[in-house]
Symmetry: C2
Subunit: 259 residues, 2 copies
């Protein structure tokens, strides 16, 4: 045992990266178990004849990855794998379909100027119903199959006519920036499940009471003021979200991997 693994100081791969991978490997192979302490920073620095700052940089990588945690005055310890913090990336929703080789197309159902009703006044924090909003309805399809129905609203401050360019970037963010001078800087999405209404079923070409994902998105500007809102539904039989957590093996066996 204890075959001293080594660091190549002359490699193009940074020392901190080599050391981080070495420590990660020891943890993934069970040589360092959850709760056990890593060697102290000074010990590691002496053993590999590198600077303590470089050791700290390596350990910082592991801390970010959630594999170890440091306690001032005590030491650095292997963390038990966190399994309760799975995150679902919403990218997948349309991205995975593209990766699957299908072409997505967006069809415009309608673009209207509307005045704010009570619900929209609340969402956009308006105190007057005279504010004009752009109401934009689209359907996302893949290979002639309709997958999602999206209803988007944005404050319509420009007096320009509605631009056809809206369809080039049919995201809510694109719609907002195309029709306003504000820069959306943050977003909030709420995911719920529901079943189709008669109208939604007809638009998607599926049955009534079919299960769907519902996503409400709100875009905010620098002042934290809502500048865009959308409610979209996605066919439940065509979409799913996948998430991971814990000590993930990114499996960097072979291949070039620069930090």
């Amino acid at each position: 045992m204890n075959e001293e693994q080594s660091i190549d100081k002359n490699s193009v791969i940074p020392i901190y990266y080599q050391l981080a991978k070495l420590l990660e490997s020891q943890i993934l192979h069970g040589e360092l178990k959850p709760g056990e302490a890593l060697p102290t920073e000074t010990e590691i620095a002496n053993r590999f004849e590198i600077s303590r700052m470089t050791v700290r940089r390596a350990i910082a990588e592991l801390i970010t990855a959630g594999m170890v945690h440091a306690q001032q005055g005590k030491g650095t310890f292997v963390s038990p794998p966190k399994l309760n913090n799975v995150v679902f990336e919403l990218n997948n929703f349309n991205q995975e379909i593209k990766d699957f080789g299908l072409k997505l197309s967006t069809t415009l159902l309608g673009a209207h100027i509307v005045r704010a009703d009570e619900r929209l006044m609340r969402i956009f924090q308006l105190d007057s119903s005279t504010t004009r909003l752009l109401y934009f309805r689209t359907v996302v399809s893949a290979e002639d199959e309709r997958l999602a129905y999206e209803r988007k609203y944005t404050i319509y401050s420009k007096s320009k006519p509605i631009l056809e360019s809206n369809l080039q970037d049919p995201t809510l963010s694109g719609l907002v920036t195309a029709n306003n001078d504000v820069l959306p800087v943050s977003t909030k999405k709420v995911l719920q499940v529901s079943v189709t209404t008669a109208e939604e079923a007809a638009i998607l070409g599926i049955g009534v009471n079919a299960p769907v994902f519902v996503i409400e998105e709100t875009l905010y500007d620098l002042e934290n003021k809502p500048v865009g809102w959308s409610k979209s539904i996605y066919r439940g039989d065509r979409y799913q979200l996948t998430g991971y957590d814990g000590w993930l093996r990114k499996d960097n066996h072979g291949g070039i991997n620069l930090g």
Copy 2:
């Protein structure tokens, strides 16, 4: 304008943290716009009479937060806010209910030893149906209202009797560690939407064809071998996921906030 904001070198708050917040503030107030370059690291170091390494530490915070990106040989630039990478943390599912003040309770519907059928053999990558599995069915309730129905499986290697302690940690991870000597180190969750079957509706006390979240979780050990699997359904009218992205204001006005 250009009122020189300052750094207190004698503060208990680290210099890198003060500088990071200062730069972040300039970005959030629009003084530095997306695409614009930050002052060079040397410039910042000279202006505040601090070490370049400390400047780099501050900028590293902003890079992690996704607000800036560095390009070797060119400079460090303000990034446009990323709005397409919303992540939903599954914590919320039961956590928010607790935060709301309700008490969650888990009721055991049944705990059986079963042999692997074809589906379970595939899930657990087994080549023999003689492997014994523990099948664990529970219902999660809040204030006498049933919210979720969970079906969990784990390889049952110990010859111990089924422990009552399983109910103390009713998570899949807890079930696996209580009945095996393996340590689950990573997890995969797939989220889908569906509607209740007659059996599920009866167990949850709601109608048939009601919308529900379906979450299938697989737990893996160090060798990437499945050691636990569960399929759970959550009432669609009681659960939702919320996610954020972009330049988030964590709003640290007042209050103690140590980096």
